[in-house]
C-alpha cells in the first residue's frame, strides 16, 4: 500500500516539477506527457518489434552464458588442479569491463544481433561462472569423502554430490546474469545501434522527442523490474522444489 503511495508520489513530483517551472519541461516533461507518448508508442508495431528484439538478444545471450557458465564451472570445479590453475585467470578476466569489447563488436558484427550477443554473453557468463565456482567450493567435504568411500566414479560424484550442492548457486547466478544481460543488451543497442529499445532511445534523443525518450526509458526500467521479479520467483520456486526433493531423500 505504502509502496503504491511512493510510486504515486514519484509520478506526482515528475508532473509538478516542470508544471511549476522548477525544471525546464524541454528537459523533463510532466508525467502526463510522458504517459501520452508511451500511449502513442505502444500502439505501433515498431515499438513491439523493438521490445521483441531486445528480449531476443537478452534471452539468447543469457541462455548461451548460462550453458557455458555451468559447463565450464562444473568442469573447473570438479577437477581441483583446474580450479587452482584457472583461479588467477578468472580473477583477471572477470573485472574487465564488458564495454571494452564494444569497438570489437562493432568491427566484427556491425549493428547485427551478434554485437549485442557478444556483450551480453561476455558479461553474463562471469556472473554464472563465479556463482557455480562458489557452489562447488561449498560442497561438504564429508559428503565428498562419503561418495569416494563408496567408490562413486567422477560422473556419479558430480551428479549426486556436486550438482545438488551447486544448484542453489546456479540459480543465484542465473538471477544475477538475467539483470546484467538486460543492461548489456540495451547498452549495445544504445551505443552500437543494434535494433531494439536502446536504439529507439538513441533515435528519440537525436530527434529531440524527449517525452518518447522518457517513455522508452521507463519501459526498460519496467522490463528490468519484471525480469528481476520473474527471476526471483523462479529462483524461489526452484529452490523450494530443490529442498523438498532433498528433504525426501534420506540423507
Amino acid at each position: 500500500m505504502r509502496g503504491l503511495a511512493g510510486l504515486a508520489g514519484l509520478l506526482l513530483i515528475v508532473e509538478a516539477l516542470p508544471r511549476f517551472g522548477l525544471v525546464n519541461d524541454g528537459y523533463l516533461p510532466p508525467t502526463s506527457r510522458i504517459a501520452a507518448a508511451l500511449g502513442d508508442e505502444v500502439v505501433t508495431a515498431e515499438f513491439w518489434q523493438a521490445v521483441g528484439d531486445t528480449l531476443t538478444g537478452w534471452a539468447i545471450g543469457l541462455a548461451i552464458a548460462v550453458a557455458a557458465g555451468v559447463v565450464v564451472g562444473i568442469v573447473i570445479g570438479a577437477v581441483p588442479v583446474l580450479r587452482a590453475a584457472t583461479a588467477s585467470t578468472v580473477e583477471f578476466l572477470r573485472p574487465i569491463p564488458s564495454v571494452a569489447l564494444i569497438p570489437l563488436a562493432v568491427l566484427l558484427y556491425g549493428t547485427d544481433l551478434g554485437s549485442t550477443l557478444l556483450l551480453v554473453v561476455y558479461a553474463a557468463f562471469w556472473q554464472v561462472l563465479v556463482q557455480v565456482l562458489y557452489g562447488v567450493a561449498d560442497v561438504d567435504p564429508i559428503a565428498e569423502e562419503t561418495a569416494r568411500s563408496f567408490r562413486f566414479g567422477p560422473w556419479a560424484r558430480i551428479r549426486n554430490v556436486l550438482w545438488p550442492t551447486a544448484l542453489p548457486y546456479v540459480f543465484t547466478g542465473v538471477r544475477l546474469a538475467a539483470s546484467v544481460a538486460l543492461v548489456l543488451a540495451v547498452t549495445a543497442e544504445l551505443v552500437i545501434g543494434a535494433p531494439g529499445l536502446g536504439k529507439m532511445i538513441a533515435v528519440a534523443q537525436t530527434s529531440g522527442a524527449v517525452p518518447d525518450m522518457y517513455a522508452l526509458i521507463a519501459v526498460t526500467g519496467l522490463l528490468g523490474v519484471a525480469i528481476n521479479l520473474a527471476a526471483r520467483v523462479f529462483e524461489r520456486r526452484s529452490l523450494a522444489w530443490h529442498q523438498s526433493v532433498r528433504g525426501e531423500v534420506p540423507a
Binding site: 505504502r2 509502496g3 503504491l4 503511495a5 511512493g6 510510486l7 508520489g9 514519484l10 524541454g26 528537459y27 523533463l28 587452482a84 590453475a85 584457472t86 583461479a87 588467477s88 585467470t89 583477471f92 578476466l93 572477470r94 573485472p95 574487465i96 569491463p97 564488458s98 564495454v99 571494452a100 569489447l101 564494444i102 569497438p103 570489437l104 562493432v106 568491427l107 566484427l108 539483470s179 538486460l182 543492461v183 540495451v186 547498452t187 544504445l190 551505443v191 536502446g198 532511445i201 538513441a202 534523443q205 524527449v210 525518450m213 522518457y214 522508452l216 526509458i217 526498460t220 526500467g221 519496467l222 522490463l223 528490468g224 523490474v225 525480469i227 528481476n228
Partner: protein
C-alpha cells in the same frame, strides 16, 4: 613455488598461445599480438596517459565517491525507518532496474556534455546498488547488538557510527563492489557518447579510423584498469573488513 606456478601458469600459456597463433595473422581485425604490444608502447605514452587516462580516472573517482557517500547516507536513513522504507522501496527497485547507460541521453539534456555530465551519469548509475545494499545491511543488523547499544546508552550518531554502519559494512561493501564495475562501464559509455578526451573516446576513435592494433591496445588497457581497480578494492575491503573475514573463518571452522 607451486602456488606461483598455479597463479602464473595459465595466464602465461594463454598469452603465449595468443602470441603464437596470431603471429602470422593476415586477418585485418586480429593483428599479431606482437604488433598490438608494439602499438601499446607507442600509443600509451606519458602524454597520452595524461591527456586521456587521467581525465577518465578523475571522472570515475569523483562519480564513484559521490555515489558511495549519497548511497550510504540515504541507505542508512531508509534502512532505519520502516515507514520510509515501505514507501520508497518500489521506486528504488524501479530506478535500479533501469539499465544505467540509458541515463546518458537524459543527463546530457540537463548537464550538457562536459565532465559534469559524466560524473552525474556515474553517480546516477552507481548509487542504486550502494543504496539498496546499505538498506538491506542496516535492516539486518543483529537485534542483540542493537539492544546492547541501547542498554549501554549508545544512541544517536554514535549508534549509527559505532554499531549500525560497522554491522552493515559487509553488505555495504558488496554494494560498493557492484557499483565499481558499473562506474567503469558508465565512464567508458559516457565518453563514447560525447567527449573530446578520455579512454572511451580514444578507443572509439581508433575503431572509427580502423587503427586496429591501437584499438586492441586500448581494450587491453581498459582491461588492465578494470583489473587494477578491482584488485585495489579487494585489498581495501580485506583490510577494512578483516574482522568480518576473520569471524567468518572462525565460525566456518567450528
Amino acid at each position: 613455488m607451486k602456488r606461483l606456478a598455479y597463479v602464473l601458469g595459465l595466464p602465461v600459456v594463454l598469452f603465449a598461445a595468443w602470441f603464437v597463433i596470431s603471429a602470422g595473422s593476415e586477418n585485418f581485425y586480429a593483428p599479431p599480438l606482437s604488433r598490438i604490444l608494439e602499438s601499446f608502447g607507442r600509443t600509451w605514452t606519458l602524454d597520452r596517459l595524461q591527456a586521456d587516462v587521467l581525465p577518465s580516472l578523475w571522472r570515475l573517482i569523483a562519480g564513484y565517491v559521490l555515489a558511495s557517500v549519497i548511497g550510504v547516507a540515504l541507505g542508512v536513513a531508509i534502512g532505519l525507518s520502516r515507514g520510509l522504507r515501505a514507501t520508497v522501496e518500489p521506486v528504488l527497485e524501479f530506478f535500479r532496474a533501469i539499465p544505467p547507460p540509458v541515463l546518458v541521453p537524459v543527463i546530457m539534456l540537463f548537464a550538457g556534455i562536459g565532465d559534469g555530465m559524466k560524473i552525474i551519469v556515474i553517480v546516477f548509475g552507481c548509487v542504486w546498488p550502494v543504496l539498496l545494499n546499505t538498506v538491506e545491511g542496516v535492516r539486518a543488523v543483529d537485534s542483540v547488538q542493537l539492544d546492547t547499544a541501547r542498554a549501554y546508552g549508545i544512541g544517536g550518531p554514535a549508534r549509527i557510527r559505532q554499531v549500525v554502519l560497522p554491522a552493515a559494512s559487509p553488505q555495504i561493501a558488496a554494494g560498493l563492489r557492484q557499483a565499481l564495475s558499473i562506474a567503469i562501464i558508465l565512464m567508458v559509455i559516457s565518453e563514447m557518447f560525447a567527449a573530446s578526451n578520455g579512454l572511451g573516446f580514444t578507443i572509439v576513435q581508433f575503431q572509427r579510423s580502423f587503427a586496429i592494433p591501437e584499438m586492441w591496445s586500448g581494450i587491453i588497457l581498459l582491461g588492465l584498469l578494470g583489473f587494477a581497480l578491482s584488485l585495489l578494492f579487494r585489498l581495501a575491503e580485506g583490510w577494512v573488513l578483516r574482522w568480518y573475514h576473520g569471524l567468518r573463518s572462525v565460525t566456518k571452522g567450528r
